[in-house]
Chain length 396, copies 2
């Protein structure tokens, strides 16, 4: 007789995007479906030098079991960088190193979510968070995104009418929409959350990838004093294959998160942490990020320009000032899932928007990634896609 | 107002051993408390060569996001080694690479355990498993360990009288007891489990560290055909700081475990997987394991000999043929926790046994680690400890 699975597994599914990506593996397809950083920009030679240095200077220690909290010098580096770049005060002891920021979501689910607890997410929302929190049988509530952040009236109404445990938000160049919270929206979110026992989880993997315009402070510690946890990652500013993320949190919350991490994987790779620390010590991260900004900025410009040339006016597209994604909204009643099938025939791919909406809406939306294609392919791909959309509109 | 934690966190505690280790950080203390492999044996130069090769030959790919299942050539290597070393047939597609074998426990909890589900563990049992499964609010049942494995009559009674979801066992050189299942016990366990819908989880991090005697086949696939999952790890045969473990499982169980892993950390470090694969490809692992066996074998012999010389006959000690631990049983009524306080004064440390017993027994037991001390310190430490025990007995 087969062994029964836990109830929680009935509500968790394979990543929709990973399934989509299988369809787009055909080399003749120009794919804007993935969410990968551009591997040509990974600092391979500098990371190799860092790895060799770590092996030679602290070989055995770099391969031994280590503390659950993470490598202290790396935590110190991250804390210092928050003050330098974002003007918020973070102590190294408030950093918990994780195995990618996806693990932050798992740990937050473990530590905070009982089955049935309400979690507020953005509409559209980040799939990785939906998947992680679903493991803990959370119930999702949503708040719509406007050009400059969440609909504050809706956020307040949702929090007034429901007992929510958590509000999860990606405040810079959100995945999937590319949208960023303005200073006013950040203040508004903080004002609404103040005094409530709702945890604000601010996920910020893309914040440093700003090509134009000005940085805003994080909501956590920039606007909101308590009940906030800030997530970060080396995946988009260095390389994702090391699986290095972190969370900023203090007090009893941190104690519980450390226990949850201990039970989950003891600690994050000692070697990966030390190599990354050596790399950022020997190579100013700003210099590397500048290269990413320049490249992604050019790719984004190429995509925006091609869209203006080849997309019909009926397709509305966001114009983010950074990150990795654009977001397209077709006229109401149109299905991006149907468009996807057509687009694949024309050898171009994207991610249909509906899976990003837990309420079943969003049928007429889709996501475009610009970080992992060169400008030539971007122009050709957008041309094909524009022709497909026009064809699609003419049949509607 | 502070945010409320999930109910599950009320039953999960910080690792007792990690707390104990803080007390033993004083360099003047000879510590047999840890469970660390000996870092002098980590193959630093060979791993450095492997890391450089990976960076030069597949730099960007080695740092990119990758599949949840794990690096295919590494899975193939592990599968082939099972056939070569243990004579069991495993397909590469039945291997799921994890972030250390601790993560296997977390994934198993996620996929199989509802709150209140019964999990059978050994008495004494592995603390990491107790901690991981506790996150999923499991209820523990126990089966006592005899010299050659579990008390089969007790195992059968426990399974007859209770609806159990899982039986978790460390079949070779168990942590903490050092005990190993004989062929007869393996067959007995398989016979008892046959036809029941109980998942048998066989954890085997120490199996290759055998200094004398013969290997036994794993219960899973060696004796038991269905409902078995086998766990493995590079931590004790190469280096733990890479956080590389795996599980052997097929069919729908594997599909669910992959979904759970995706939600937990997307995938294990691409770079760590590729470096380990390069290392085992260029350096026969058997050669390295032979060095570990020789060193640990000598350390174990020194500890056993010192115990025969310095411990009173009232202290019963296991004589494992491999692994990293010995297990001491004092006369009934004596407390190893009290002995610990005395031992620290004499500058020697061990891990008291009670935390390994979820039923509150085991007060008179303790664990000794021999992998991470040289022979000179082992003899001196055992001498101090023996004097402490004798002193303790004389006062009792």
């Amino acid at each position: 007789m087969p062994v029964k699975f836990a109830d929680r597994m009935s509500t968790v599914h394979r990543s929709f995007i990973r399934e989509i990506l299988k369809v787009t593996e055909d080399a003749s397809i120009i794919s804007f479906a993935g969410g990968l950083p551009n591997p040509e920009l990974f600092p391979v030679a500098d990371l190799e030098a860092a790895a060799v240095k770590v092996m030679r200077e602290s070989g055995p220690q770099s391969m031994q079991y280590s503390t659950t909290e993470g490598f202290q010098p790396l935590r110190q580096y991250i804390a210092d960088r928050y003050m330098e770049k974002k003007g918020i005060k973070v102590d190294a002891d408030e950093i918990l190193i994780t195995s990618g920021s996806q693990q932050c979501l798992d740990l937050l689910g473990k530590v905070f979510l009982n089955a049935g607890d309400n979690v507020v997410i953005e509409r559209p929302g980040y799939l990785g968070a939906i998947q992680s929190f679903s493991v803990f049988e959370s119930n999702f509530l949503t708040v719509g995104l406007e050009e400059d952040g969440p609909d504050l009236a809706e956020l307040e109404r949702v929090l007034d009418e429901n007992e929510a445990k958590m509000f999860y938000a990606v405040t810079n160049f959100q995945n999937p929409s590319g949208l960023t919270y303005s200073a006013a929206k950040r203040q508004g979110v903080a004002d609404i959350l103040k005094g409530r026992d709702v945890l604000f989880v601010e996920d910020d993997p893309y914040g440093e990838l700003r090509f134009m315009g000005d940085f805003e402070k994080p909501v956590v510690r920039g606007y909101l004093e308590e009940n906030g946890i800030l997530l970060g990652s080396f995946s988009k500013v260095a390389a994702p294959g090391f699986r290095l993320g972190w969370m900023v949190c203090g007090g009893e919350m941190r104690d519980k998160l450390i226990i949850a991490k201990q039970a989950s994987d003891l600690h994050t790779s000692t070697f990966a942490q030390r190599v990354m620390h050596q790399y950022v010590t020997d190579n100013p991260l700003d210099n590397h990020i500048e290269k990413i900004r320049e490249r992604y900025g050019n790719q984004r410009a190429a995509m925006v320009q091609a869209i203006e040339e080849y997309f019909p006016a009926e397709a509305k597209v966001t114009r983010p000032e950074g990150g990795m994604f654009l977001w397209v909204t077709l006229p109401e009643g149109m299905s991006s899932m149907d468009l996807f099938d057509e687009a694949i025939k024309n050898k171009v791919a994207f991610v249909p928007g509906r899976p990003f909406y837990v309420d079943g809406s969003g049928e007429n939306t889709f996501r475009l990634n610009f970080s992992n294609s060169d400008e030539e392919h971007i122009v050709e791909g957008i041309k094909r896609l524009g022709a497909g959309i026009k064809d699609f509109l003419s049949k509607a």
